[in-house]
């Protein structure tokens, strides 16, 4: 489970425009990405989120998992998500 404290600070509007008040960077997030962020903020774990993506977007679980991991990697590269290892460091 990743540390989502930075993600919680992200200010996101309904159109997918996001502002990071720590770095000053802005992002455009897809509607799917918006849902994922919302679910993560609500406290859903990885397995839950993958299941929600599969249900909501009518894709198979494998596709949902691949897309979810890709999105997590993007969040991580922008410093918006920290893995437990990086937090420990």
């Amino acid at each position: 489970m990743a540390d989502i404290s930075r993600l919680k600070q992200l200010l996101v509007n309904d159109n997918g425009f996001a502002f990071d008040p720590v770095t000053g960077l802005t992002y455009n997030i897809s509607l799917t990405g918006l849902d994922v962020i919302q679910w993560l903020k609500q406290g859903h774990g990885d397995e839950d989120v993958v299941g929600l993506i599969a249900d909501q977007y009518e894709v198979d679980r494998e596709t949902a998992e691949r897309d979810y991991n890709g999105f997590l990697a993007a969040l991580h590269s922008y410093g918006l998500l920290e893995t437990e290892e990086s937090v420990e460091q």
Partner: protein
Amino acid sequence: MTITIAVTGLHRGENPQPGYGVIRSLRRHRDDLQIIGLVYDALESGIYADGGADVVYQFPYPSAGTAAVLGRLDYIHSQYPIDIFLPTLDSEIHLLVGVGNEFTRRGIRTMLPSEQSYAARSKSNLEQLVAEGDQQTPRSESVADVERLVYAAAQIGYPLMIKGQYYEAYKVYSQLQLVDRFYDIVSRWGAPVVLQRFIEGPEFDVVACGDGQGGVAGMCTIRKTILSDKGKGFGGVTIQDDHLNSLALALIEQLEWYGPIELEFIQDAITGEFYLLEINPRFPAWIDFPSACGLNLPGVVVDGLWNGELPSLPRCSTGKFFLRHSIDLLCDLEDMGTLAAVGEWKPVPK
């Protein structure tokens, strides 16, 4: 009771000065003000902008020396008794730090740092300052001649930044460019210049008003979103980075800074570490931006000097941004001619 405040640095344009932004902030803050604009050139654009000074006087360049500056101030003071003097340019503050008693003797209030604080933040002393505070600044060398310039550049490595002692900073890629820029900067600002290792990454600015005891009366942090060719922030967004704020506050505490201060940082794009680029003993040109957001630091200075106690302002809200916007001012040649010929001019209120 009307407070009379003298403000310098009214030029806007490609390399904007803070004075006009300071005046706009003061106008936002209170109505009972009479503003005197002190200018070096009749073409300083802020002279003719709406909401500017109530009266404008030509003023000698700091290079004319303390006696000339104070002499002119005495004349202006005899025409419009000055309550508060807010110099906004580095070269002026360099001259005026240490002669605060001259203002006190005249009944003029100023908010200037101590000589010790001022010297400790100079570009040539920055490495020592950050080392004492366990912070970082890009490797720098202060040089005054071409031989040492070339040697120091070889030690630091290209590309690097070359900076004037008060203003201007350029990125140079070769010895040829370096020497060319060296003569260029020295011709305007004199020697020495500072060479600084170039770090790639986003730039950040912190503006504050120090209370002289290690604290601040208010502080605003921005990420620069648009940089001009001269490295000036032509756009920025307010942020709240606790780590960056703690670095800035630690430096202000270390300096026991009194008055306006601007701290410039760069964040290494690879390591994420912040490096202090420079500390300016004044407000930045974008000072009216936080004022418009509710953090009016020029207002804090005036209230502090007037009431004898600095008020404490809340943090600047995040997610507000500014863009520098140029417009053409319509001016009457006769007005400019009066100021140039007589040395003073009073705009007709609109």
